[in-house]
Symmetry: C2
Subunit: 289 residues, 2 copies
């Protein structure tokens, strides 16, 4: 109970007497189709489930189209229903099976929001160039992509670019892996990774390719001051790595040093080490000004 300090202090903003939507109610049937990529692409909408994602989605004006929740879910997180209502977002109670139809996890936490796609063109994300950015090049695994986006947000990145044949950022598993960070950073979808590299460089960012076969050691680069400037990191898929021509287009190909006998790091770990090395160098630069 102490986890939910708002509990019981907010009045219900939704109509307790309204009939609950079920898995067969047309609005739920329509929303459920957003679990398919084609439907997301056609409508420009997606589903964000659970209180953390809904909370973060509601911080971005105009993103949430509708909030569905079980009676228990809406009562447990009354601040979400209140924020939705204050923003003019319909709040609709659903039955347990109605919620289950919209969610993909074993234990959905009672709320799910229909959200608008929120990616921006690359040029918009670079109008004020971020000091840190991440490019997910051809990363098709939704869990990996979402985790790297979350880590990039934590490290202070302002933009995350899904480049080439990467996963749909609005894939349910990807959205969940971002743990709300999908709503914190500029999300960009760009078909041509090479054009992304050119645009990042034109905006004054150093472009570093993270690859186990890189000629530059990450620690050496940090020691030489090479990370203390606005930087975009390129990450490739765990299975296939970065496309060779993309790695070649970067300013440097950087490897995380392997001190033990492991052959490699997994993508989430390598990205965390690279992004946090940049974050530390950028912070040191700022505090020494």
């Amino acid at each position: 109970m102490s986890m939910h300090p708002h509990e019981g202090r907010l009045d219900r903003v939704w109509d307790s007497d309204a009939p609950r939507f079920t898995a067969r109610t047309p609005r739920i049937v329509a929303a459920r189709r957003l679990q398919r990529r084609r439907e997301r692409d056609e409508t420009g909408r997606f589903l964000a489930e659970g209180p953390q994602a809904v909370r973060e989605a509601l911080t971005v004006p105009g993103v949430v189209h509708e909030l569905f929740g079980t009676e228990a879910g809406l009562d447990r997180y009354p601040e979400l229903a209140a924020a939705a209502a204050a923003a003019g977002v319909p709040v609709s109670p659903v039955t347990d099976d109605g919620l289950a139809a919209l969610t993909e996890t074993v234990a959905p936490q009672g709320v799910v929001a229909v959200c608008a796609h929120r990616d921006v063109p690359l040029a918009a994300a670079l109008r004020e160039p971020p000091r840190l950015a991440a490019v997910l090049a051809e990363i098709r695994d939704p869990g990996n992509a979402g985790t790297v986006l979350r880590t990039a947000d934590a490290a202070g990145a302002g933009a995350v670019v899904f480049a080439g044949d990467a996963v749909d950022p609005y894939n349910g598993k990807c959205v969940r892996a971002t743990a709300g960070s999908l709503f914190h950073v500029d999300v960009v979808r760009a078909a041509d990774p090479a054009a992304v590299v050119a645009a990042l460089r034109a905006s004054g960012l150093a472009v570093l390719a993270a690859t186990g076969y890189g000629e530059t050691d990450l620690d050496d680069l940090a020691d030489a001051g090479g990370l203390a400037r606005p930087t975009a990191w390129l990450f490739g898929s765990e299975a296939h790595g970065l496309p060779a021509e993309l790695a070649a287009a970067a300013d440097a190909r950087v490897r995380v040093p392997l001190h033990g006998r492991a052959e490699s790091l997994n993508l989430a770990a390598a990205a965390a080490v690279c992004l946090y090395a940049s974050a530390r160098a950028l912070r040191s630069r700022e505090s020494s000004r």
Copy 2:
């Protein structure tokens, strides 16, 4: 083909005319039971699947009891069969369904080894204290535990302790997530995390608890020289974090700084940042000597 330079150069060390074991052959039925924890605990054996795990297992004398492979798998990795045979390890051809019975992945790569548990008592792992160690406290998720072990190996850790009610390190998913690193580090299983902390400290290691609520910022600690000494990191589960009394027993409670708006990092990312911060500080210390 270029990925397997040995291909075709080694003679078959196994009997091509021997009948292939099937999913119903008693030896396969017995080995398959090792997918259950109770059977692993009773026999002290486990299964390592895929060429990378088998290769690393074969580097540790006495670990591999038996190597099973499909004809295609044994022909594709003849160096594994040769190494097994040279060590006196039986190499047994199996049918495709025999292999499928022993493996848990959708695309098993043709080889699986029956291995002996290889954990050592904590005192043995600390006889020559490692300069870096990781303690997985009550981490029950096998993928997370295996990934952190792999990252710890990459960062140069000599020992990884599964403490308290942690996952069985020989769980198939955990073994796969280690990507061979299970065979590189001293693996320790210890029931009492508090006793582990005491033993690590008695061996001269600093004990740092990684927690999002820590009072010490990781970068500040690095700047102050606090990482340039032998260190054991304590990591808790993603869902529940470190037990409070264990965090309190550490020399410091350390948080990875959150520069953006993410509420937290996932375990694999946080552990990578902490372990690599230590690795870098230890390397700087050694190169400046």
